[in-house]
Symmetry: C2
């Protein structure tokens, strides 16, 4: 693991400009934005997956493809992280990107931002055992290591740091989709 100290800070100005672009959100990746009933602009994201063999799944989203698989110990061919690992990565990535955006709005710089995310699950239900235990993680823990500085380059005080963290959590889409119920509409074509 290498330190990011000093790498991010030089991007501060460019970041703020990029984040202003982000805030305007004039176009979206898949060109499927529309006005919702409340008059807010909604954005649609989509992804296509194909089961290739065994537990190996090919994922396509915009111009990107990647592989989901299970490790050999879980009956797979270990060609990529598994779904519940990608779920943790999505949360860590989301907290990082939102954390950076929130810092810029608060006139702060993020010198470094790392997140350790873990979750524990009981595989009984996944395995088909008739138990009351839930299929997914019982809880997810995200531990953030951040170096946040003010406009003068000094580390921010604890209160500012807490405010930054609270805003970040509140506005992170992935955190919201996990912490609150998100209807999943499943259909067979």
């Amino acid at each position: 693991m290498y330190s990011l100290l000093g790498i991010c800070s030089v991007y501060g100005r460019a970041h703020r400009r990029a984040l202003r672009i982000l805030a305007t959100l004039k176009c979206v990746p898949n060109e499927r934005s529309r006005m919702s009933e409340s008059g807010q602009q909604s954005v649609t994201f989509d992804t296509h997956t194909e089961l290739e063999a065994g537990t190996r799944v090919r994922v396509e989203t915009r111009d990107f493809t990647y592989v989901i698989d299970e490790p050999e110990s879980l009956g797979g061919t270990n060609e990529g992280p598994n779904p519940v690992e990608y779920l943790l990565g999505a949360l860590g990535g989301c907290l990082s990107i939102v954390g950076h955006a929130v810092a810029a709005e608060m006139d702060l710089d993020v010198e470094s931002l790392a997140v350790d995310v873990d979750g524990e699950l009981n595989p009984a239900r996944f395995q088909g055992a008739d138990v009351d235990s839930r299929a997914g993680y019982q809880q997810i823990t995200a531990s953030i290591q951040a170096e946040v500085t003010d406009a003068a380059g000094d580390p921010v005080d604890d209160e500012t740091e807490r405010e930054w963290l609270e805003r970040t959590e509140d506005r992170c889409p992935v955190s919201d989709n996990l912490a609150a119920e998100t209807p999943v509409d499943l259909s067979l074509e």
Copy 2:
């Protein structure tokens, strides 16, 4: 998009063997299994993320690394899918892997299995606007195209297919983590 027809079926027997291994779950990727209070074996998964620059995040999980980024239209450098896209991929991958496992248990073969996953979100809260709208997806839609056959190689009837789908949804960890509340414990080290 190429057809998977005929590719998966030849793996049927090997899959069933692999899925028996999966069912025993004797070891776990990060060697962090333990008995829970209820006497069930729990499995822990973990992931580490580092913000590299702007919206680009490097993710490490076991021996894998991948990149999360935002598209240029959202202020990023477009070096990878964004967090909410990975969230959809995790769901599609999970449904595929569990769907395949459930089919094997039901003595069925999955000839092909593709999932289109999409979700719509209102970026107002993510952007810091003071609105009541949630930060994440309001709903996620997963549309499955599957070709499932019985031991004789014939397509299964609608009832069998519906049972397969219900079991798959019920046992998919990612679907559970989205559809039901999952506490996210966030801390700053």
